[in-house]
Amino acid sequence: MNKRTLFITAAAALLLTFIVGALLYTTQKKEQSTQLVDTNRDALIRMHSPTLGKPDAPVVIVEFLDPACETCRAFYPLVKDILAANPDQVRLVLRYAPFHNGSDKVVAVLEAARKQGKLWPALEALLATQEDWSPNHTPQVELVWPHLEGLGLDMEKMRIDMHAPEIANLIAQDLADGETLKVNQTPEFFVNGKPMPSFGYEQLIALVDQALNEAKQK
C-alpha cells in the first residue's frame, strides 16, 4: 500500500468509526430513554403538574421547561400552535426543569401565580420578557415582578405564597423526576411517552403527527 492510500484509508476508517459510533450511541440512548419512560410512568406526569388542553385528549405532550431557557422560549409558540391546530386532540403537561442557577425561584413565582389561576399568562409574560429578568442567562427573581403587572395578580400574596413548602416540594419532585428520566437539557418533550428522535421543531411536529395517527387508528 502506498503512503497516500494508507493515509486516505486511515482517515476514512477513523471518520467512519466516529459516525457509526455516534449513530449507534444516539439510537441506544433513545431506546434507553423510551424504556426509562416505560418503567417510570409515574415520573412522567404527576398529579400536581399543570396541564393545558382537554383532559381526555389522546395525545399528551409532556414538556420539561426552564423559564430562563432561551430555547424553551423559542419553542413555546410552536407548542401553542400545535395545541391550537388540534384543540381536542392534544394536551400539554408542564414539568419544571429549572437548570439555570436561580431559575427555581422564578418557578416558585409562577406557581404562586398558579394559586391565583394565572399560571399560563404569567409564564407567557415571563417568557416574552426573559432577557429583562435573566440578563446574561442569570435569572434574577427580583426583576420578574414588574413584568407580571397588568395580569391582575395580587403580588403581595404571591411574595408570601412563593415560599410555601408545597411549592418547594413540587419543584424538588419535578427535578427528581427529570433526573429519573435523564432529562439534562431543556426543553425536553415526551409525546405519549416517546422522546424526540433528535432535537428540533420538525421532529416534535412529526412525533405529534405520529401520535395523532395512532390515536385515530384506535
Partner: protein, 145 residues
Amino acid sequence: MPSLDHSSNTAWTLVFLAWVLATISTLGALFLGEVMGYTPCQFCWYQRIAMFPLVFVLAAGLFPFDPRVIRYALPLAVVGWLLAVFQMALVVGLIPESVTPCQKGVPCSELQVVWFGFVNIPLLSVLAFSSIIALLFSAHFKGSK
C-alpha cells in the same frame, strides 16, 4: 541512496502514527463532547486547542513529507502535554483545589468519566500527548540519521 530513503520512510511512518493518534484523540474528544454530551471543563478546552490543530499540521507535513513538520508540531504537543499533566495533578490531588483557575462551570478536578476504575479523560490526554511527543522525537532522530 537507499539508506536515506529507508530512514525517511521510517520517519514518515512515525509522523503518520502521530497523526493517527492526534486524529483518534480529536474524534474521541468530539465524541465525548458532542455525542455523549459531556461539558468540557476549561482545561479540556486548552488541551483541545493544542490537539485539534495537530491533525491538520501533521497531515500537511505528510504529503509531500517534510521533516520540519516535527518542529512545527512539537510546540503544540508539548504545551498540550504540560496542560494535561497539570490537570492530572489536579485530579490526583497533588495540587490543592484552591489553586485551580477553573471553578465556574465544570470543575477540572472532577472526573466525569471513569472506565475500568482508573481510565479517565485527563489520563487519556496525558497518554496521547506523551505518545505523540515520543513519536515526533523518534521521527526526528530517525530522519537525521
